[in-house]
Symmetry: C2
Subunit: 491 residues, 2 copies
């Protein structure tokens, strides 16, 4: 059991067989199987179904042994009592890994526990590893491989998520897709009979497509072992944890859900701080943290420069900085002098820089660059410039509805310009992050669906954009904490 499990064959298989592949909509063997095909998986797909000649238009085989070519990954969605025999077949033909979607194991009763124990023995004997049982599937966008209940399509990205709750995991994936956060590898770990959180950690730390590791975790079997691994791994890649069951009530619910033991929030948080793990307090935090950790540089200190289209936001953001222990240094005369040239005389001359609602783009850009290159700040938050296009679009719509036709040509020119400018501002943010190696986070209260992460796949950094300043501040604070942890480790 001490040999390293082969997870690469599970997440990067060249061929997938689906035992229980079905033409019946709603069955697990249909949901996950059609997802695999529709998601554009490039490897070979073999449906195993003794009744139907074709499943979703692909020729099917009565059993694994009938497949004439090698099978890397076997996905199983047949009843619990059939899985042992499938595992035996897998050994015979040399399959390299399994995802057991089937439920009815240790999560239901003692008999199920026995079946599960048998599977462990058979897998060890067969020389392969398996996810689950009772998992809601896995996906890997780097491989265009979607074997999950949720059919959301994700961009390729460095975030990998292991969830000890299939449902929550699938919903998080759907949410990430809607927000434009690229989760590359996902795995609902199910009962973790064979592959445990420690194994996933081992694999993801080595996986070259992963730069940020997320866990939704209710409990681990061997706490000490996991902590040791986590402490070691956190120096290589940030590990962000949403702990379910961190309180008494949550612990009770977790016990009834995955059988994990109740915990204590303070203890878990302390444990995270010691081992450099990043603690997500809530489910939105988990995804927002992942977007930043995987795409922008870490702040090397706790000092923040802020530009804001309107004063009120600067105030709310400053409050959040206070709450999270970030500092907002006063603006030096040298920068005041530069910004004086681009803003009206009554601007506030301090940090946060209130852009007093100006539409002069030179002012936005000058203020942002001054903040980014300012040696006394470690991170920048820019409020309100991105997202303006939605507000202006609404104004133009009113203009076209009410104004004389002679003005329409002009009005029709406005939106392309604004859209182009926002695109430029996005690129400028990324450019500045690369030039000054400081994180810059954009915030707008307008809707930003699908645009939390922006930028070119090939660039060193992408941009991140949140809907409220509090999340931007929370993210910077936790990134700085992680940066400090890394520095301490180096000493």
């Amino acid at each position: 059991m001490t040999t390293k499990k082969d997870l690469k064959s599970i997440f990067y298989p060249k061929s997938v067989a689906m035992v229980g592949a079905s033409n019946t909509f709603g069955k697990w063997g249909n949901i996950t199987y059609t997802n695999l095909i529709a998601g554009g998986y490039k490897g070979k797909i073999y449906p195993i179904n003794p009744k139907d000649e074709y499943v979703a238009k692909i020729k099917s085989y009565p059993s694994l042994k009938d497949v004439p070519e090698p099978i890397d990954l076997v996905v199983i969605a047949t009843p619990a009592n059939t899985v042992a025999d499938i595992f035996k077949e897998m050994k015979e033909i040399g399959c390299k890994g399994a995802v057991v979607i089937s439920s009815g194991f240790s999560e239901v009763n003692e008999e199920g526990k026995k079946l599960e124990d048998e599977l462990i023995k058979l897998a060890e004997d067969g020389g392969f590893a398996f996810v689950g049982p009772n998992t809601m599937g896995i996906s890997n966008t780097h491989n265009d491989m979607y074997i999950t209940a949720v059919h959301a399509r994700l961009k390729k990205g460095g975030v990998s998520l292991i969830a000890q709750s299939g449902n929550l995991g699938n919903q998080l994936i759907s949410w990430a897709a809607a927000e434009g956060i690229a989760v590359g590898i996902f795995c609902g770990s199910g009962n973790e009979a064979h592959i445990s959180c420690e194994d996933y950690l081992d694999f993801l730390v080595e996986d070259e497509n992963t730069n940020t590791i997320l866990f939704y975790m209710e409990g681990v079997k061997d706490g000490r072992k996991f902590l040791e691994k986590a402490a070691e791994s956190a120096t290589k890649k940030p590990i962000i944890i949403l702990k379910g069951g961190k309180t008494e009530l949550g612990g009770r619910a977790a016990k009834s859900h995955t059988g994990a033991m109740a915990g204590n929030a303070a203890m878990y948080k302390a444990m995270c701080a010691q081992t450099g793990l990043v603690w997500a307090s809530t489910s939105p935090e988990l995804l927002n943290l992942s977007a930043a950790f995987s795409n922008i540089p870490l702040p090397k200190g706790n000092r923040v420069g802020i530009t804001t289209l309107g004063g009120g936001w600067g105030v709310v953001t400053s409050d959040a900085c206070s709450d999270y222990g970030l500092e907002i240094p006063p603006l030096p005369k040298s920068i005041v002098d530069v910004i004086d040239k681009v803003l009206p005389p009554y601007w506030n001359r301090n940090n946060p820089v209130d852009l007093v609602g100006t539409t002069d783009t030179t002012a936005h850009l000058t203020a942002l660059e001054e903040m980014a290159k300012w040696k006394d700040v470690d991170a920048v938050i820019t409020l309100g410039v991105l997202g303006r296009s939605k507000l202006i679009q609404d104004m133009v719509t009113s203009g076209l509805k009410t104004m004389d036709e002679s003005y329409h040509d002009f009005l029709n020119m406005v939106m392309p310009q604004i859209t182009e400018y926002e695109e430029y501002y996005r690129k400028f943010i990324i450019e500045l992050m690369t030039k000054y190696e400081k994180p810059i986070i954009a915030v707008s209260l307008t809707e930003i669906s699908g645009k939390t992460v922006f930028g070119d796949c090939k660039a060193k950094y992408k941009g991140v954009h949140y809907q409220n300043p509090e999340q931007a501040v929370m993210v910077l604070a936790k990134m700085y904490q992680y940066y400090k942890f890394l520095q301490d480790k180096k000493r």
Copy 2:
């Protein structure tokens, strides 16, 4: 100055004159004026512009005095040094109120402060009240009247918002519109030279269209007076406050923004608790609280019943309940027996009720009603049933892409059924809230843009739906706190 100011003429005018109405896109006199027309205002509109014969196709007048009919509200968007003369004209012809958008007053320098002081005298002398100066406008959907920079269209609803930051206020409005939260009355209070927060409070407490009052507040001139009024008003309608400048850093930024003095978060929170004011910790909280307070009944205790499509969410929600001091009573045998009939034998038999991902709608509905009528709970959270349609839509799309044509008729039937069922579930939630007088909050992690509030305008309650369980729990906790305040007051 002790006479009550006439705010009704400002928020419910029969006619509006816009001094500085302009055909030039981007000018304040164009942005707010086209918004008024495009928004469908039913009263009379008089542009005042000495140069153009028509402004946005409406005949304009050289001055207020030239308008042949009575004017209730005058909106002013001309330079600061012109406003005094306009006020004098207003007195002459008997206008009833003004919104001074013009800036360049106390927010810029001493000279501006003098101009502002003069306006106060002129208004008192003229017998009318004015909003601002330096406001980004007002709106009242009950009157289809939009005089703001933001051109979002809001549903008619009981939430009224006063913001001591025009920019933040306008962004909050845009956000509320995108989320489907109905803000009826909005006012950016600007410099509050004449109408102060206390006055708005007086007005909104009496306004029959307002059932929930929101403030984004940086500072009030007379703290004691405001507190007295707030304490009195909070017994009539919930008052939710987002305080800008509650920390040292925020206070510094607020001083530079509106001149408000720095505060201390703990002191403000304590003040809110004493006076029954509801404290919003962050900008998202402000809007989420408003959706619930204005649409669903208050919980009469801190005990929560939870139904969840998957176990993990139940755990996360339970953790949040612990954090916010809510209780999750164990499920009594009587309810276990009822739910036993509709769920597979391995369900968890406890609260949260894990619906083990069942697609059997009878199970969802039975569990929800059992929770709602259970005498030992005061509020219900239902996780995952609403929002499923997005997930199923994606599955159907994959099905149509991959499956043989013979299955397409069936697949095409799925979505209408699911959509209809979700609609039914929404109605059922509202029905149960009305029947049992308990709040029920829906949560799904999938995207819910524009659907935070759902239901029929005429019903007693509407439904609310958040994207994460933590917000649902926060809202219930603060509603219960307010309920307790009301009970204490009655004693």
